[in-house]
């Protein structure tokens, strides 16, 4: 039986509505696991091609209000049973539904897999085969590699470390299995359980960070701008402290750019600091309008800081002019001091921009800024690329899978099952973790066995 696959058919944030598509024999049973219609009836064959209103629920908690359509094979795109979920277009909704579907047994579709199935099942005619091949083989060159490259050192390193620890246990188990007569230190269940517990905890931590989105990949490119002493570096530090997840500090790739990766409500932000925010220099004066424009151009979102205790200056107006066409948040800082800046002028000049009032020094308004930022992302005002969402879900899915293998082995250790059974699930966990970082070779285990143990005649 082919796996039942799932994919997001629309780019999140693009519109008010997101469509998630499921294809395969288990489509109906999977949707019935997580969908409750208004009439509380399960979807069945008779609902073929009807749009049913209801909710996606996880353990009685409503995740989203949706419209679901079930289309019976073979009159579908893939010629398999297909279910389409029309949900709200925000990232959170799509992501949680996707995760639920994976938990219920669907597999994340590979690039072009729906089309591949459509072709293999005879839905698409021969002339379109080329296109299918293009779609799939484009993945070879980019897709997967990019996904791996996207992994910043941290995650990949952590997984690498977990795998190394696992490999050590597996090699020890393998050697006691393959060489029962050799003079090898015995494996005790207590010891095994201790080592494994540590590994499970580390995996769980990774899952937690995946959940809040702390797994770092391409972040949202964020530029903080404002006059000297307006509080840029304080804001950056405040955000960094909030996120407690400084992962990398890469010295500028071009010119003097410094990038900081931080997380706000599960959204990775890449803060781009043109010529160094901490130097508290005046951007417009020092690097000029052109360079400022440049830094604006690469930004997904701009945080413009104004000093509420000062009158607006020429520089401020100049920047506001540049902000017209940009996604930006205006932050009035130093609201704890007597107000001198004319907030009304700003709202008039930039009518569609979100305005946050804050005192960074006193810690006021940071939360509000973060919420404003994430709201802009989740409502789709700021777009995040589809691939990012998918890689995130894919990793989390694999991490969960690895953890469940580890827990299965733990159960077996507690029941004191034979070592060779335990070894099988540990190996599965090791391979699953390897899938995330693109490594999975059984020969590694054998290498490890012979490099660590002295064996043979």
């Amino acid at each position: 039986m082919e796996d039942t696959i799932v994919a997001v058919a629309t780019a999140p944030g693009e519109a008010g509505i997101g469509i998630i598509r499921i294809s395969g024999e288990k489509s109906l049973s999977i949707i019935n696991d997580i969908f409750v219609s208004k009439s509380k009836k399960k979807l069945s064959q008779i609902d073929d091609r009807r749009l049913i209103y209801g909710h996606i629920v996880e353990k009685e908690t409503i995740i989203d209000e949706v419209l679901v359509a079930y289309m019976k094979a073979p009159h579908t795109y893939t010629k398999e049973d297909v279910v389409e979920i029309n949900c709200h277009g925000g990232m959170i909704s799509i992501r949680r539904i996707l995760e639920l579907l994976l938990k219920s047994g669907a597999q994340l579709a590979e690039k072009g897999e729906f089309t591949k199935r459509a072709f293999l099942n005879g839905r698409i005619d021969l002339s379109q085969a080329e296109a299918v091949i293009d779609l799939i083989s484009s993945k070879t060159d980019k897709g997967f590699d990019v996904a791996i490259n996207q992994l910043e050192g941290n995650l990949s390193e952590t997984i690498q470390k977990i795998r190394e620890k696992l490999l050590e246990i597996i090699a020890h188990l393998t050697v006691t299995i393959e060489y029962p007569d050799e003079d090898i230190e015995e494996i005790t269940y207590d010891n095994l359980s201790m080592q494994l517990m540590a590994i499970i905890n580390e995996t769980q931590q990774l899952i937690n960070t995946a959940e809040t989105g702390k797994i770092i990949r391409e972040g949202l490119r964020t530029v903080i701008i404002g006059k000297p002493n307006v509080g840029k570096s304080s804001l950056l530090n405040a955000l960094l402290k909030e996120s407690r997840a400084i992962v990398t500090e890469v010295p500028g790739t071009t010119r003097d750019l410094i990038e900081e990766m931080i997380h706000i409500n599960g959204i990775p932000l890449k803060i781009i600091d043109t010529a160094g925010i901490r130097e508290t220099c005046d951007l417009v004066e020092k690097i000029g309008v052109e360079k400022t424009k440049e830094s604006f151009n690469i930004a997904d979102v701009i945080i413009f800081i104004l000093d509420a205790s000062q009158m607006l200056t020429n520089d401020d107006y100049q920047i506001m002019d540049l902000l017209q066409e940009k996604k930006a948040i205006i932050l009035f800082n130093k609201m704890d001091l007597p107000l001198k800046a004319d907030i009304n002028v700003v709202t008039k000049l930039l009518p569609n921009k979100k305005i946050v009032k804050a005192s960074v020094k006193k810690g006021h308004g940071i939360r509000e800024l973060e919420d404003t930022l994430s709201e802009m992302v989740y409502t789709g005002e700021i777009k995040q690329e589809n691939s990012l969402l998918i890689t995130n879900v894919r990793h989390k899915n694999l991490l969960e899978k690895a953890k469940s293998f580890l827990e299965d082995s733990m159960d077996m250790i507690e029941r004191k099952e034979a070592l060779d059974f335990i070894e099988i699930d540990l190996k599965n966990a090791w391979e699953t973790l390897g899938e995330i970082i693109g490594e999975s070779i059984t020969e590694d285990i054998i290498d490890e066995v012979f490099s660590r143990f002295c064996l043979g005649k």
């Binding site: 021969l126 083989s137 299995i177 007569d181 070894e423 059984t442 043979g456």
Partner: protein
Amino acid sequence: MTKNFYMGKYDVIVVGAGHAGCEAALSSARLGLNTLVFSINLESIAMMACNPSVGATGKAHLVREIDALGGEMGINIDKASIQSRMLNTAKGPAVHSLRMQADKHLYHTEMKKVLERQENLDIKQGEVVDLFIEDQTVKGVITRTGAFYETKAVILATGTFLKGRIFLGEWSYEGGPSGLSASLELSDNLKKHGLSLRRFKTGTPARVDGKTLNYEKMQEQPGDEETIPFSFTNDNLHKSRVSCWLTYTNKETHSVILDNINRSALYGGQIEGVGPRYCPSIEDKLVRFADKERHQLFIEPEGLDTDEVYIQGMSTSLPEDVQEKFYRTIQGLENAKIVRSAYAIEYDCINPIDLKLTLEHKNFNNLFCAGQFNGSSGYEEAAAQGLMAGINAALKIKEQDPFIIDRSEGYIGVLIDDLVTKGTNEPYRIMTSRAEYRLILRQDNADLRLTEKGYEIGLINDERYKKFVYKKDKINEEMDRIKSTYIVPKEINPFLEKYNSSPVNNRVTLLELLKRPEITYSALSEIDKNRPELDIRIGEQIEIQIKYSGYIGKQMAQVEKFKKLEKRQLSSDLDYTKIEGLRIEAQQKLNTFKPLSVGQASRISGVSPADINVLLINLERERRKKEG
């Protein structure tokens, strides 16, 4: 070829009568083909040139599979067994592994007898020095004495003889194993024909006069009380008759070896061949694991009618004077007299990726290869390949479909697929961890997995097949009975209490009870009043199948997935450079490997999952084009 004289015509000629050659010759002859097997010396038929034992992890599985397919190794080791142990009994049934100590001489004479008495099989002492190849097809062999034999197929099973070179410290000379002469000319001629060869290395420890050992200083390792035969055709086996002995190296041993390390052939740089990591020489162990204070060694008797013993764990390429010195530092070996010195041996072999899954050479029609010649190591690995090469040579001549065992059907499949699809950089040894579906590929069910196939090929006779079907039916009947036999709480609870098992409130089936780890099939007989008289091996199957049904079921599901790609066959004349969408590396790899199935293609290094998808699309496109 003018000087050569014609000496006759055969269907199949096997070069070499070691463990691979014997199985190859027997299977070919048993399938009705006129077969000739050559050995440089007939005293070396089925010679155990290294350890006097058969079996152990992975290897035992191979022996059982060979037996289920109608091969000889299992039957022969049962005849020659002088000690039997089941290894790994504290672990799960998938890794239980039988291991037997053999009387080497008996193993040889018994196998020779079988060969001699085999219909359609001729044996000849002689050295094959060249092949006659025409149109990339092998058509004959030429011996050192000028004889030309015409044939339809050749199976090369040259072991360590091919351009063999022996090393003892600074001394080295051309030679085969155990004092026999090497086969030199054949190697050069194979190269001339265009086969590419490479050098591998292996070694063997000294044999010592057992009368000179002090066994009181060693630890005894007796055989099992209950002995189980290897072959499914034998119902029981005689008791273990000898013990092995355990002792250790010490600081003194290590200093003698390390003081002389520069005299070792391995560290002196004389040896160019690649040796196996799992079979290192003692000097290699000391260098690589410098902080290990002692190394374990086993003293294994070489037979009942000899005093020679084998010193397992102590192979070396050090010269004889150093050997004598360090062997005598070991507890119990203080006065040991070496009767055969340890040596390292280097030999020519092919890279197995030049072979098809049938073990036929990709560039030469009807040239089949088996055993160490293919880069493997071990008697059992050799025998398994010999059997498969013999079967496939015979099938090809009879113009029948090839016989291939896949990775989900047997260790034989894992072994051959690993060699042919992945290749190997060292002499290859089977391990249970190389098998993806270990829980299914057990040694206890090898007959259930493969006897049917052996029967279809024609290596299992009607009588044996009937016996097998009877066993299979009995298992099914008993399974049905166990599923449908209910026991009420009143009857079962006292029994459960006795075995520290929690009581039940409602009636339960025997099957449900058997799922409990603490309840065994044999214990259950106390309350199972209607149990029929059954062979112990049937009870074993019932127990394993029920107790581990969860794990086994999981792997069965994986196998089903695996089979899907395995079933998608690829034509051998497919030109992969013409398939658009495949990356260049994949095109090249696929064109060299010419995989038989999409599954095999997916295991070739350098072929990505996306390439496999492209292949699948392409297959579908071709199919539709054909349909019009």
